[in-house]
Symmetry: C3
Subunit: 159 residues, 3 copies
């Protein structure tokens, strides 16, 4: 029996376009029967935030990070040509026009294809993000779990 | 007979310095007899644009992207210290001084070494880039082709 | 006897948060007995700069790069929410609060764990950085050495 191939993506970046790339690759690899993990760390955690505000207790700095960071995939900016939010509007418009999938749907599709979505607990701590604020059905782990996955990965990417 | 080693680089970023890094690694791997592919997606596609304007029919948003994005490798900015175009001038100056190769020549060298240059058709659609606007002798493919290459790659990088 | 696993990280980016990610992964992999190399190129070289000024002879452009680039890990900015230096202060504050390690200590730990720290000689030339300006106990190499390491790597990342 052929060994299952593994793809492990670290999503560090908090931009709409980079997260799209991560999820398109993840969904593509899952379609080829890879076991796929996206490990969300630092600003990449924002892709997993719920879009509504969640009442949780936080310190002052953690509250500030919480306020300044985009609340969920749909609110993220672009890595290039963001133009104070106009760039993301343009991208979403051309996505619709060309029948491509916007980021929130790419994330849903990944969950349907059993892509393992992991939130990095160390950076959750640093940025003050709590489980209640993140999507359902994700896993929580640290760098040790990532190394364990990555050393068996055929495709390892840092995005 | 030893198996040919494969290097697959996704060039997502549209900056001069990051594209330089991608092409230096690609040329280095090709010199070590790797089979090398650079898969250009999102802003990385701009490295493959011809530097003259090409008359093609486009929708409004696609025209705007076309106008705002750099036309070819030589027009790209830096990821750090761009200073409204002064940074790239400094980099090109020190490249000349130290007899290093500027980006357009790195791309030529890659083509001479049979590095496979691929343009991502999905993001070409989104950004409204057409084949007529891109360099000759490149290939066109999507995420499925990338996964096929990457799962056999010894070195896979996302830049 | 089991083969030693290798992790090779290219640190291209010159930001505090991205360098933190690189060093956290490197230290994690070293803890799992990987042979780990961080290859510092372009702006990533700044993580290896000494924090004091070192008297060396330089050309005009090289002096300018030297002045404009951060002098050592502790001076680096953030890739997101830098806010003219306020972001790094916030990050360092939460790092302290959560008993995580700031970047300079992560680098020390990497050296104690025998992570091989390499400075890319080609980009040192371009940016005018000289050995006297960089930390002790690092190695100097070019793209050929990187390819040699990477083609045996289990985990290869570009950060």
């Amino acid at each position: 029996m052929a060994e299952t191939k593994k793809t492990n993506i670290i999503l560090f970046s908090g931009e709409y376009d980079k997260a799209m790339a991560a999820y398109i690759i993840a969904n593509g690899a899952a379609a080829f029967d890879h076991e796929v993990t996206i490990f969300h760390t630092f600003w990449g955690l924002n892709a997993l935030r719920k879009d509504e505000q969640v009442a949780v207790k936080k310190g002052f700095l953690e509250k500030m990070f919480g306020k300044m960071m985009p609340r969920g995939a749909d609110k993220m900016g672009l890595s290039k040509m963001n133009f104070a939010g106009f760039g993301p509007k343009m991208i979403k418009e051309v996505i619709k026009k060309h029948n491509a999938l916007p980021l929130p749907q790419l994330i849903e599709m990944a969950q349907e294809q059993d892509v393992k979505l992991v939130a990095c607990t160390m950076t959750m701590d640093l940025l003050g993000l709590q489980k209640e604020e993140l999507l359902e059905n994700i896993e929580y782990a640290g760098v040790a779990a990532y190394i364990g996955d990555a050393e068996e990965g055929k495709v390892n990417l840092f995005i």
